[in-house]
Amino acid sequence: MTFPDILAYVSSLGVFFPLIIAIIRRENFTLELKLMFVYIIVSTLTEIIATFWARYLHSPNHFMLNIFSVVECLLLVLMYREVFINKLVKRITLITISVFTFFAIFNFTETSNFVKFNSLINSIACIIIIICVFIYFFQLLQTLTVQKLSVTPMFWISVACLLYFSGTLFLFLYGETVLFHKSPFFKELWVIYFILSFIFRIFLAIGLWFSKTPLQLKSSSKSAQS
């Protein structure tokens, strides 16, 4: 086993961190965190299936990554739509995500686009999510509603998304050249990807850990009164 292989294993295991935290904290979840929960379940399943697919069927699993990136973008953007306040922004995100989905489906009808790693669709998905993160940050600066960023789930999730998707965007922009090149240098680049996705999952887990619902607050204040 080489170093990148070990990292690949560790980062796949990293998928379970947010999943475990999400299961523990699921009662606290507001709608946007529930969407995050769905996303985590989907990504865990994809990870598991893709690994077995590659290992035991010995056939390329790229089509799975293509579908996953569309679903991922859909879920994350819907999550951000939940936290956006501005009505116009909400509408625009909905339009964007619908257009993107239709475009992706249309794009996948060409078989070569579907079975091979589709760097165009993946890159667009990354860019859409990054834009959502920036809109969210801008909204925070405008409203200043959050008292402490360090205990705000959406802040951690946004940091995770920004780091992960801008990193992977870079990798996807070079597409197959980077990802499937045989030279050792490009193998090193994979290391970066594994580290990124590991950080991504740890941050998601931290964010979910800090989730609190109004319901929980209410019951604790009730017990304080009695």
Partner: protein, 254 residues
């Protein structure tokens, strides 16, 4: 594909989001701090206003208490006195009743002193600053046998806060002149010019050194005036020197 180019681009691709996040956190907390400061400032101002307002409320409350408490005590005194007539023969009973009446009176007197200290003279409330100052100077002249002249050719009412502040300040300044100056005459002048209300209190006493007033161990009278003035955006000016009479000038924007 140039490997160096990829490394450079990759580094930039990682540095950009990291610096964006750091920048965001810094800007966020700075804005939050600014907002909080503005908030506190507003709160402080509101509390100040409220405390002035609540002083008025408390004053009215005290007025009520005075009426009820002192009224009750005086009623008891009257009853006690009327009983005195009944026991004109019984010497021991009479002394007892007289003692109790005196006690009641003393208590009433004590209560009046205590409560009236916090009360604003009703002349100020009803007839305004000018009448109140007139009244004040006349009464003080009677009490102290020292001529206190009040000059004013205005006939107006002012903001309640301003009137109260100016009245209290005059009281303190006249009190100071009586206490410290060994003056033969005190003059109070109220006038308006340049959209400003001007109050001048002058005595012909021995004067004092302004430096000495600023010592922390000294009284709170003048500091009190200054804090009253800061509330109504007024100003207190001194024209003082050892060996000659002192002049204090208060100006308040209208």
């Amino acid at each position: 594909m140039n490997e160096v180019k990829i490394v450079i681009l990759g580094t930039i691709a990682m540095l950009l989001p990291v610096s964006a996040i750091i920048l965001f956190v810094i800007v966020y907390y700075r804005r939050q701090r600014l907002q909080r400061a503005a908030h506190e400032e507003a709160l402080h101002q509101a509390m100040l206003e409220a405390s002035v307002g609540s002083q008025e409320v408390v004053r009215r409350q005290i007025g009520g208490d005075l009426h009820d408490e002192i009224g009750a005590l005086l009623s008891a005194t009257r009853m006690s006195l009327s009983q005195l007539n009944k026991y004109s023969e019984n010497e021991s009973k009479r002394t007892l009743l007289l003692g109790r009446t005196e006690e009641l009176l003393n208590e009433a007197l004590h209560n009046v002193r205590r409560i009236s200290k916090d009360l604003m003279p009703s002349t100020l409330d009803e007839f305004g600053l000018i009448e109140a100052l007139k009244d004040f100077s006349q009464k003080m002249t009677l009490h102290t046998n020292l001529p206190i002249h009040f000059t004013c050719d205005l006939n107006a009412r002012y903001d309640a806060k301003t009137e109260l502040a100016l009245y209290r300040s005059t009281q303190e300044l006249v009190n100071n002149a009586l206490k410290h100056a060994e003056a033969k005459e005190i003059k109070i002048t109220l006038s308006e010019n340049n959209k400003k209300l001007r109050l001048e209190v002058t005595d012909d006493g021995k004067g004092f050194d302004l430096e000495a007033v600023n010592q922390p161990s000294r009284g709170i009278g003048i500091k009190n005036i200054e804090s009253r003035m800061s509330l109504i955006k007024g100003q207190l000016k001194f024209d003082v020197e050892i060996g000659r009479g002192s002049t204090f000038i208060i100006t308040v924007p209208l």
